[in-house]
């Protein structure tokens, strides 16, 4: 099975090429079939590989790529439990979203291009997780960034969308620079970027030297960009400019979890650097809390989900940071299910309301869109951590690990979880309950089957997906942890991760669930019983709420301290340094020659008298100096 693993990325690539090159020459339905078919084929192979996975990493060499001096990189794939899980998520969720897109994008004039981009994205995403070396991961890493750029700005006539796309790309690039440098440092340290060789090299590596810390921190900068952590998170909410399935696929289920994948993949390195682990944990924690507070007040259905994504990603980093690698990967999986579902359901709502995204203009959609409602509800329960939905298990495992690292982590995590439950139910209540507050000329309608069936499948997965990770304390076998154990056993056995108090798991679980329930109850009281509706645009809000509503003014601050100064510096360099200084010196040399020329011309007076004088003075000087 593993011998044909190269087909997994090949199918989407071929799909992309066919769709991209033939473009309008294909009918929309054919294009849809090609697009989805490529994914389905990949999914089947991925499933096969998953089934056959025995825990041993398998490296598959496809072709050499770069070799220069002592550096060499190959197109080679690494199949192990970690990558096989990601393969499944990507191809599986990806396939569902492709199918959904057939309906969602049906009327778009650039339908075929859309599918080609999606296929290309999946290709790069697969490269990212299958690649056997950091450099190949980087290929996918940047490639998905490109596709994200293309898809956010898919409706390219709109300037704001284009700006959002550009912002996403550039912010990612900032992170990528960190990744790149980190990767080069890996190469410098280990002489290779192949995972297996690097990890083998770590054995016996002097962990007290700062090199590993440097490497891991640099890589984490990359992760911050790609997985939208503070301070590089602002692109993700803006990225909601793209078509909603794109948001689901790229900005919720797959691409943004690349950072998690990368840190998990490098777990051995991270585990050796306590400093990095702490940085990862704290960054994740702060991001989780921070994004959750913003999500409390947002009124755009997709924005709420976007901040929720940022927040959940923070959770995952928290998990990584406290050494719960498999828990984080587990959460990636469950998150992929329920967050994709949330987005797709939101897309269904938007689709049904002909593009409306403001939750203040929704309400009461329960009746007109029952399937959407039901699936959305299940997903909301999952994300809120209500047992036995999937989110409960994965989140709980992370919180448990956090507690053993430090109770403070746990407290903040729980607060975040409360907020999550609150804003998700706020969203649910405002959208599906109460009266319809929008434009009554719009008749909300349920989406076609091609869209709802993926919703249903995802809903099922969101509901039961957690069962593969039932912790021992609840009597489960925690299958996923076992499955991933070969990958993380080195990392999790590092001394830096040992110790910490053994958490009273059941107690913590109960507390968490109870607090979530309180939040849900509060949301219910506020939005169902009191029928509160968020204030309209322009209303004066209390200071705190205002700050939250404006996302702490981070965009404005970035603009003021980075974007605008950069433009200013650019103008200054061009108009002052370049033209007034450097180039001016060059030109002034020319002018100086001309000026001296004009002056010397005066010497040529035309007067023989003067000429003779000059001659004699010249002779006198010659003789004088020679005689001295």
């Amino acid at each position: 099975m593993t011998q044909i693993a190269y087909l997994i990325p090949l199918f989407p690539l071929v799909g992309f090429l066919i769709l991209g090159l033939l473009n309008k020459r294909l009918s929309k339905s054919v294009a849809g079939i090609i697009g989805c078919g490529a994914l389905l084929a990949s999914f089947c192979i991925a499933l096969g590989i998953f089934m056959n996975m025995n825990g041993q990493p398998v490296e598959i060499m496809v072709a050499p790529w770069i070799s220069a001096g002592s550096f060499s990189a190959n197109f080679a794939f690494l199949l192990d439990p970690l990558s096989s899980i990601f393969l499944l998520i990507i191809t599986g969720v990806g396939f569902l979203i492709h199918v959904y897109s057939v309906g969602y994008m049906h009327d778009d004039e650039n339908h075929n291009i859309y599918f080609s981009y999606l296929n290309l994205f999946v290709f790069f995403m697969l490269m990212l997780v299958m690649g056997s070396s950091y450099i190949l991961m980087f290929v996918g890493w940047e490639g998905v960034g490109l596709c994200s750029y293309l898809l956010i700005g898919f409706w390219f006539k709109n300037k704001a969308y284009n700006d959002a796309a550009k912002k996403a790309f550039i912010m990612n690039r900032i992170g990528d620079l960190g990744f790149l440098i980190g990767m080069i440092l890996i190469f410098k340290t280990f002489g290779t970027t192949d995972y297996l060789k690097v990890f083998a090299g770590v054995n016996g590596f002097d962990s007290t030297s700062g090199v590993l810390t440097a490497i891991t921190l640099l890589l984490f900068v990359g992760a911050m960009g790609k997985s939208a952590q503070i301070p590089l998170y602002t692109w993700l909410p803006d990225a909601m400019a793209g078509p909603t399935p794109v948001s689901a696929l790229i900005h919720a289920a797959t691409m943004v979890t690349a950072g998690i994948y990368m840190v998990a993949r490098s777990g051995v390195l991270y585990a050796l650097s306590p400093v990095s682990m702490t940085v990862v944990a704290i960054t994740g924690l702060i991001t989780a809390l921070f994004a959750a507070t913003i999500a409390l007040t947002q009124n755009d259905i997709k924005k709420v989900l976007a901040y929720s994504t940022v927040s959940q990603l923070g959770y995952m980093f928290l998990g990584l940071g406290v050494g719960a690698f498999s828990a984080s990967v587990f959460h990636v999986m469950t998150h992929a299910f329920f967050k994709a579902l949330l987005f797709l359901a939101a897309g269904s709502v938007i689709h049904g309301l002909s593009g409306e995204q403001d939750i203040r203009k929704m309400g009461g959609l329960k009746k007109s869109m029952p399937v959407t409602y039901m699936t959305f509800l299940l997903a909301t329960l999952a994300i809120a951590g209500v047992p036995p939905f999937s989110g409960f298990f994965s989140k709980d495992e992370i919180l448990g690990a956090a507690y053993s690292a430090s109770p403070v982590y746990w407290v903040i995590g729980v607060v975040t979880a409360m907020m999550t439950a609150f804003y998700m139910f706020r969203l649910l209540f405002l959208v599906f309950f109460g009266e319809f507050r929008g434009d009554h000329s719009i008749h909300a309608h349920e989406s076609p089957k091609v869209m709802t069936i993926p919703l249903m499948i995802l809903a099922v997965l969101s509901t039961i997906g957690g069962f593969i990770g039932i912790p021992k304390s609840l009597g489960g076998g925690n299958a996923i942890e076992k499955f991933l154990e070969p990958v993380f056993k080195n990392a999790e056995s590092q001394p830096s991760l040992a110790g910490g108090s053994e958490a009273p798991e059941i107690v913590l679980m109960v507390i968490t669930v109870a607090l979530a329930a309180v939040s849900i109850w509060y949301a219910y009281k506020k939005y169902i019983q009191n029928k509160e509706v968020p204030a309209a645009e322009g209303t004066k809000l209390p200071a705190l709420q205002n700050t939250l509503y404006h996302k702490y003014y981070v965009d404005e601050i970035y603009s003021a301290i980075i974007t605008k100064p950069l433009d200013k510096i650019s103008g200054f360099l061009e108009s002052i340094v370049e033209s007034k200084f450097i180039d001016n010196i060059v030109n002034k040399i020319g002018a100086l020659v001309e000026w001296i020329g004009g002056w010397l011309r005066q010497l040529q007076t035309g007067n023989v008298d003067f000429y003779l004088f000059a001659m004699v003075v010249g002779i006198v000087l010659m003789l004088f100096f020679k005689m001295m």
Binding site: R601, Q604, T605, G606, N607, V608, D609, L612, F613, V616
Partner: protein, 106 residues
């Protein structure tokens, strides 16, 4: 070499011809009339001739004196041509003042 000073010291001639030469140079610079300037040049040539003859005497060699003939020949030729040019110039500018010769400059 000699215990008794006989004849005229050589450097007297050197100094005399230097003086005459310098007067010639000064004349060239001093005057505006082209003819006088020519004459000053002739004076310079004569100063040189004097020195040549003195050196010829120093070396007891006739070639120095022969060279004087060539100098004279050249001087004569120069004067002939020079005066011809002067006349042509005079026809054009009605003057032998060298300070009016400044149409070509810059």
């Amino acid at each position: 070499m000699s215990e008794v000073v006989r004849g005229i010291p050589l450097n007297w001639f050197i100094i005399l011809s230097s003086i005459l030469f310098s007067i010639g140079v000064m004349g060239v610079l001093f005057r505006r009339n082209a003819i006088i300037i020519f004459m000053s040049v002739e004076l310079m040539l004569n100063a040189v001739n004097l020195l040549l003859v003195a050196f010829a005497a120093k070396w007891g060699d006739a070639s120095g004196q022969v060279f004087v003939f060539f100098t004279m020949a050249v001087a004569a030729a120069e004067v002939a041509v020079g005066l011809a040019i002067l006349v042509v110039m005079y026809r054009n500018s009605k003057s032998t003042d060298i300070d009016v010769l400044n149409k070509l400059k810059g």
